[in-house]
């Protein structure tokens, strides 16, 4: 393990926001240029999981926790095959990683994967700015990419917006694969990969589910070819308003009344399939401390979030949809954003947050059990 010392990593870097605000710091990770939507994530642990979460595709992530990289990078905690964030903004990166599982430093991993980052800026000022002005396009520049401020702002402003971006196909698997059940196999689930995290099929597999992870472009035939007991729609990046294909597929699954579970992007797709709208939140929910109330039990769970869009569904009444009655099952207590939907007349539900929780607390793991009970009940009915 190399030990970086002071003097290294002093190359200047700038973070440029589309509204012209500029933060000056030092290059971190790869040197060069990168663009993305600037968003902040408030988790104090789990940067490795965050960076490899496909939902962060095309986003420049700001870590509000100031000391980043302390536990280095290991070979077990990746949530997908690569780092997806387009840029990383930290205040005080570790010089020496310390953890018995660490294999290399975060800095080294960022360099190896060509992820451009910046360190040493006032991340709190940036976060407050994003909170007040909303998430926005941004760019990080270092080394030869540096230029006059106005030029950099212009480059940022030339980038596409997140609203209207269709990104799930870019992050999803191209080939189907199977995650075998741990122990005795009890169910088969077709999981539509819209940017699925590694922990999600793992949580299902732990419960005796054989998970067939299918590409985002999977058709109804592809799904039913695996004879699923349930269908799962994963999390993923981008604007749900662009996800026509998955919405249509979801409609087909609902029509067949197959038990269905969706997470994050999957929740937004269920919302759209039911006829609700989706909208972009000002600065999103990204962190691992969000209080969500399960309205069916009244209990509060502390949950992992990563969403910039949300479903627009009425909180105070049951809605009639093409698939029967639906209601908001979960709500974020911080801002009353819809965090979960369920159908009352058929076995389908979804949550906007991350019960697989990597990173994050395990409070919502019961939702996988709920999915299992839906499949059990459905199986019993059919038998």
């Amino acid at each position: 393990m190399t030990t970086s010392t002071r003097g290294a990593g002093k190359a200047p870097a700038v973070l440029v926001l589309e509204d012209g605000r500029i933060f000056r710091g030092r290059a971190y990770g790869a040197v060069g240029e990168t663009f993305g939507e600037a968003v902040f994530s408030t988790g104090m642990t789990g940067y490795q999981e965050t960076l490899t979460d496909p939902s962060y595709d095309r986003q420049i992530v700001v870590a509000t926790a100031p000391q980043i990289g302390n536990t280095g990078w290991n070979d077990e905690d990746d949530e997908s095959g690569r780092i997806w964030v387009s840029g990383y903004v930290v205040r005080d990166p570790a010089r020496v990683p310390s953890n018995w599982r660490a294999r290399r430093s975060l800095d080294e991993e960022l360099v190896a994967q060509g992820v451009v980052g910046i360190s040493g800026i006032d991340t709190r000022a940036l976060t407050r700015h994003l909170r007040e002005s909303g998430s926005m396009r941004s760019g990080i520049f270092s080394g030869e990419a540096l230029a006059a401020d106005a030029e950099l702002v212009a480059r940022v402003q030339a980038q596409p917006h997140m609203k209207g971006a269709s990104l799930y196909e870019e992050v999803a698997t191209k080939e189907a694969y199977v995650v075998p059940a741990v122990g005795e196999k009890k169910f088969t689930v077709a999981a539509i990969d819209l940017g699925i995290k590694g922990m999600t099929p793992h949580r299902m597999a732990e419960r005796g589910i054989e998970v067939h992870v299918l590409p985002a472009t999977a058709t109804e035939e592809d799904v039913y070819a695996v004879a699923p007991d349930g269908v799962f729609f994963s999390n993923g990046p981008g604007d749900p308003a662009t996800a026509e294909g998955p919405v249509a597929l979801m409609g087909a699954v609902l029509k067949r009344r197959t038990p269905l579970f969706g997470i994050c992007f999957g929740n937004q797709i269920l919302g759209r399939a039911l006829g609700f709208g989706t909208y972009k939140l000002k600065y999103g929910h990204r962190g691992i401390n969000q209080p969500v109330q399960d309205r069916t039990t009244g209990k509060v769970e502390v949950t992992a979030h990563n969403h910039g869009f949300a479903v627009d569904a009425p909180l105070d009444k049951v809605s009639d949809t093409p698939y029967g009655r639906a209601e908001v099952s979960h709500v974020c207590l911080n801002d009353q954003v819809v965090e979960g939907l369920q159908l009352l007349d058929q076995p389908a539900f979804s949550v906007q947050y991350h019960p697989e929780a990597a990173a994050g607390p395990h409070d919502a793991a019961y939702l996988f059990d709920r999915f299992v009970s839906l499949m059990t009940a459905e199986g019993a009915q059919r038998a």
Partner: protein, 1102 residues
Amino acid sequence: MPKRTDIQSVLVIGSGPIVIGQAAEFDYSGTQACRVLKSEGLRVILVNSNPATIMTDPEIADATYVEPITPEFVEKIIAKERPDALLPTLGGQTALNTAISMHEQGVLEKYGVELIGANVEAINKGEDRDLFKGVVEEVRKKIGHGESARSYICHSMDDVLKGVEELGGYPVVVRPSFTMGGAGSGFAHDEEELRRIAGQGLTLSPTTEVLLEESILGWKEYELELMRDKNDNVVVVCSIENFDPMGVHTGDSITVAPSMTLTDREYQILRDVGIAIIREVGVDTGGCNIQFAVNPEDGRVIVIEMNPRVSRSSALASKATGFPIAKIAAKLAVGYTLDEIPNDITEKTPASFEPTLDYVVVKAPRFAFEKFPSADSTLTTTMKSVGEAMAIGRNFTEALQKALRSLEKKGSQFTFVGEPGDKAQLLEEAVRPTDGRINSVMQAIRAGATREEVFDATKIDPWFVDQLFLIKEIADELAATERLDAGLLAEAKRHGFSDAQIAEIRGLREDVVREVRQALGVRPVYKTVDTCAAEFAAKTPYFYSSYDEESEVAEREKPAVIILGSGPNRIGQGIEFDYSCVHASFALSDAGYETIMVNCNPETVSTDYDTSDRLYFEPLTLEDVLEIVHAEAQAGPIAGVIVQLGGQTPLGLAQALKNNGVPVVGTPPEAIHAAEDRGAFGQVLAEAGLPAPKHGTATTFAGAKAIADEIGYPVLVRPSYVLGGRGMEIVYDEIRLASYIEESTEISPSRPVLVDRFLDDAIEIDVDALYDGEELYLGGVMEHIEEAGIHSGDSACALPPITLGGFDIKRLRASTEAIAKGVGVRGLINIQFAMAGDILYVLEANPRASRTVPFTSKATAVPLAKAAARISLGATVAELRAEGMLPKHGDGGTLPMDAPISVKEAVMPWSRFRDIHGRGVDTVLGPEMRSTGEVMGIDSVFGTAYAKSQAGAYGPLPTKGRAFISVANRDKRSMIFPARELVAHGFELFATSGTAEVLKRNGLNATVVRKQSEGEGPNGEKTIVQLIHDGGVDLIVNTPYGTGGRLDGYEIRTAAVARSVPCLTTVQALAAAVQGIDALNRGDVGVRSLQEHAERLTAARD
């Protein structure tokens, strides 16, 4: 689900006197809880024997009982008040133990009082080692994680020896059950150590139980603070990581929040285990603290212990995160759920979330080993620190360096000049955890130690070690640079370097560095502690400084008063000063000012974000205070800075602040100098015609001898410029004077030794007074029980004075007024007098709030600190009388005849310390203050009040049994009458031969007991020490023979501490105790709330 409607009144039990392991944090928690419960419309009944607390202010609860926290007294309160419920989880181990014992005695059932916040079963499961092991096993079965260290429960020494074999040999950890702050626990490396530690542990444990454990020395140590509501919602408020690995009590460790070296997976395992434990233990509602050890090799997690209550760590976690654990625990106890309680800071989001930090918090302990020179300074699992400082920074290095300078102790900050010393030797030193080990590590790094060498010696996590290297590298750059430029200065400041440190490295003056820095525009910004890493807007201005880009200090319109707090608690400067600062904040807020508090002590009420309009959690150094003043001056008008309420810490800054153009209000710095400087003060006394004991200063033995010869022995000698009587000694002869000068390292031409005539047999008197420039308000006159020569902080005292007459008060008033006027006081002044023969000598004057202000305020029902704050800002005594803050007529010197008598008693930390041989430290009182806290007994007559003070401080006085008396020759005369009284009360007297002889000649029979030095008699007659250990003595009177000698007295007094037998070390205390015993034997000792006392007093005044 809203709050319960079946509870109308709640009894809250406080934690009693400040002792090591149970300090001001419980005042903070208790105050929060009482305020919340009161605002919920409940009748709050409070019992706490500690007068120096905000919680015992009459406006905090509806009925405030400053009575001993013993099951007997609490039962009396319950019988009188008949509360519906008892909340025992906010007063530390004292409250919990008292509640459990009342439950066991059936008292709660008898009066139909419901225990809320925790049930007895949960308390037992959490506290009983064996049951808790079962809990952990159950948790492991359920979630597959967490285990206990392999261990063995013992109830006897035989068990203990067997246990070591079971565990596979030494070293083992010994932990007594049901003791606070880990009292009595430690590592045993061999049988001798084991017998000593376990033997004491069995004694200390109320259940005669100790636990032996496998050693997990050197593992990483973590704590989680959790809360649970009645709907089983659980949140983790904070994770804390110890910088010092396992082996050092967490209270003595440098600790960091949030955890720095855990991956999410590992952190979530701790969280899962923590949540499963709080459920399995069955904490219904409220907070708990769980400690973990993690093996750095493989991540194996061991659950060390849990506290099913609010703790020191939860106070730290509240300050570190902005999540008020005690306040929320109180709301949960009366039926609310977490999602129903709003987060105070955002106002919009609920409390059912987990705070996230965008800064780093470091807590550093403050020790007082210099007060106990014979004590072993190795840090162990028994807590020994007397206070702590917390600092917040945007990174670890900044927070750490701020915390170290907050400790305000010479050598606590890293130094980078001079020879570091020998690397091997420094590493060797760093192996043993001590106060200041981190400084040895830094010197070892300077001497060339590698990261690996530091880790091998200390087991401090490599990430932390690298952070120390980072600090050292910046120091090197500062030293090497040709000129200080903005870039390097900013970098150094970002890593917490103070102007003073930079000045030292560059060989410049601190003010020069400051000027350069400010000229280059390198200044701190102030960030908000907001619980949510800026995700939501914060409504609460709780600030810390950082060298970053954007400041969050908002503009304001009202004139602001900045109150400087007292910093970390230490012996001599404790919670009493925080009390005065908090009062000032309340009073000035009422008077229309914006109040701004500056302090760095996480245990206190002053650092509650609710106390003042703005809170700056910052070190109390000149640099940090000047920057705050600068930031606030830009935000709006500043009416002034108050330095006279936080003890010596802010007082010491007064002149420098003024020199820097800061408006110091109240007593001006020149007046402070006039009182503190011996020459200037002598002038004041001379002009007022007041006598002081003869004195002189010397820098050599010959000089000191000449002074002593002239004024006569005994003399009181002390180094100049010290606090709390540090190094002060009464010297009876020339031989000792010579050795004193020889031993004293602090004497130099610029620091002479002061030699005063010691007034033998004088009555010492303390006066607290207010002066506005025109009128004197005599706050209170306290008569010490012990004679002069015992530090006023360690002496018991009575108010109103019990033996002084009207003429004496008149003289005291006149002298006080002359001094206040001569010095130029605007606000509070405390003067110590000694009455010897018929002469009233002035010993010293402190132009500031004293340690006794809270006691005086409570005893006389007048808020002196509030009045002082107002006077500082220009109000007059007359105006305050008209307003009703001060009584219309009279003052503390003219209390009505039937005013209650209040007795203050000091509480000593003897049982915490051992010498390197593992023996206790001597318990004799002297001119050097060593008490950590105090209690107050209040009643209509002195005897009862004194008995209550003893019950509150040390446990009840015995009313019958065996009294052992052994006194120095000079005390033999005055011992006879009290001894006769003891006999009259049915005590059987035991004495050493000399004392017995004197008693016999005076017609009192005493059984002669063998001295320790004589050994056991031929027929197995036991020595006095053996008798004490066997529980054969109920009361000990032992006054020391001269100084220094480690004779029998030492053995007797340490045995008394070990066995918790009341031990009186002065004849004056004996006389008072006899009055107390008399009161107890007459029966009918009642309880009365402060509100009732005040009502009577007010009625009598009008």
